[in-house]
Symmetry: C2
Subunit: 157 residues, 2 copies
Amino acid sequence: MSERWLPQTNHEHAVMRVLTSIRAVSDAMERMHSGMKGDMDMNASDVAALRLLIIRERQARSVSPRDIARHLRISTASTTKLLDRLVESGHVERRPHPSDGRGRVVVLTEDARNVFFRVFGDRLRAMRSVAMEYDDAELAVIARFLDDLCGAMDPEG
Amino acid sequence: MSERWLPQTNHEHAVMRVLTSIRAVSDAMERMHSGMKGDMDMNASDVAALRLLIIRERQARSVSPRDIARHLRISTASTTKLLDRLVESGHVERRPHPSDGRGRVVVLTEDARNVFFRVFGDRLRAMRSVAMEYDDAELAVIARFLDDLCGAMDPEG
DNA sequence: TCAGATTGCTAGTTAAACTAGCAATACCTC
DNA sequence: GAGGTATTGCTAGTTTAACTAGCAATCTGA
């Protein structure tokens, strides 16, 4: 997480500590997701696709196979197979795109939502109760930091 | 990231916003790592193993194949293959464990350190300069939050 | 209008995980 | 100590999920 750069001042130590912690959180998140292999009959990519669908649904934005391919950084061919798995397991459906004859719209089934929250519910609740301990001003700082960081890491998002 | 839970108060909205942001950061991190597929001749697991080695080295803690298997949540058989790849590409070496005849100690080559920082350097600098913008008190709050969150997500770490 | 781009798919290939089981070594109980 | 059990890292063979190449259908812009 560092470079040959070594923190000197107290402030630099604090910076280093935050970057180390963010890495730890990110690793924990990754393990949590890839750990779904065991908890449900799904691999990490399938879960990631499901998460994208859940998030986009909350934003009332539709998701195409192309979107999934871009988000997961996999080929459209792999995405077709991924969707085949999710369709076959009854988690999503392919619908024709309303205006683009080539495209598809991928939608969650109610079953998928249930499974997702059954598996992630405890973890989400635990995370939420951690955040609940912080006041508005603190949360504002944290959110601003995270958004800045995100922008620095990955311009497109 | 949410559940059927919907934020009501301002505070709950702030909580939600932070959890959404942390997800975004985590996704960006994951894409950054899996994006290494393109930037170097390595897959995400190999990079993750390399990161573990870099971090542990800084803590002066040795790393066994077993440690890597546990950290990446893959089998020891897969870890053997992973190490074969990294040894063959000249990024790590297997050394005998000093006190346990069964075990090995995996150590980085100088070459691996160079490659790692060449690829991640820009990103790490960008992240660091984001954190630099925050004062000690803010960084302390952020670090505490992240550590709390980590504890909530993944007790063992 | 039509040349080029984009979408999602199939087919076949490759990479990296998996399970099962092995010998060598360590640890624990008597 | 001696013997049984656990742990480590490995090999062999299998399965999964990514990849590339190329297709028809559709959209877009000059």
